[in-house]
Symmetry: C2
Subunit: 186 residues, 2 copies
């Protein structure tokens, strides 16, 4: 069974982006970035919400094209459509989210990179579908923005797996999600 | 000049309490708690918002009495009043906040313990009055609640001073606030 790994930069106050989705507030150079780019190579599949995908447009991403050339993309949206969709890019309707994710997890392949954002992460957490959480904790405060999880349920604990402390103050902290109750209906 | 230290437990997603102010979600035993209780002995003065103070009532705190017997208390509120106020407990009106804090910082004494909550922390951060931040980062997710800072301004960076990793997954991380722009008018 492939793991879904929510792998994301956070501020000390728990935000993964400013309110407008921008992420240039995070420390964008250093050893932690090199490690992150290397870790991305290990994922062959990514799942993300529409806002997260479309945020790439300002960096040259073309609608319907993969944001990460070596990954298959599953974009969760009821309203998104493309004129020309690349074979590596599929749109998942919200109603089909659980079924699609179950199928994806049963396929042979790498762990699945949950790219964000907080709304999708919350949905997947409620369905107990997130297996691991890797945060790149940046020594910054945003005060406002997009939350790591846009609300979430109880019924799990985080088991610490691994931590790297970088000299620039960033920490990479890796947890396994341990679900301790039955799935919560939503 | 006495430092103001915002010393507070946070979840991984940046909350210092649930929405109702409760904090029993944080890990309440272990070496990090012993260390925290020892650190509290080093403060002779605390400043907190009304909600933070009144949260103590359910644990037996009597209105007007000190929450920490060895500290002088400054409670920021325009509406709070006590029938009988202990000599260690004073109420500060919001309009007098800056002046009172300036005076306090110039007095001889220990660093000042900023106990919370997020609204007061934001006000003090905007006035560049917080000197250090100590977070007890708990390996939990709340999804919603009271933010570490209830919104904040730019114009500072966090210099990492010290970190303790506890075996239960809690981290104590200590930062110095480094203000890099002029104070923002509010």
């Amino acid at each position: 069974m492939r793991a879904i790994i929510y792998h994301v930069a956070t501020s000390l106050d728990g935000f993964i982006a400013r309110k407008d989705g921008s992420t240039d507030c995070f420390i964008e150079s250093g050893e932690h970035v090199d490690d992150y780019l290397n870790q991305l190579k290990d994922y062959d599949t990514t799942i993300m919400g529409r806002n997260t995908y479309e945020y790439g447009y300002q960096y040259g991403l073309k609608p319907g094209h993969p944001a990460y050339p070596h990954m298959n993309h599953f974009i969760v949206s009821d309203t998104l459509s493309f004129n020309n969709s690349h074979e590596q890019v599929q749109i998942i309707k919200r109603a089909d989210l659980c079924q699609t994710i179950h199928q994806l997890k049963e396929q042979v392949g790498s762990p699945i990179y949950l790219c964000g954002g907080g709304q999708l992460a919350k949905q997947l957490l409620k369905h107990q579908m997130i297996d691991e959480l890797i945060i790149k904790l940046n020594p910054i405060l945003l005060g406002d923005g997009i939350h790591l999880f846009d609300g979430c349920c109880d019924g799990f604990q985080l088991d610490h797996l691994h931590r790297i402390n970088y000299s620039n103050g960033v920490q990479m902290i890796h947890y396994r999600m341990q679900y301790i109750t039955e799935e919560v209906a939503i």
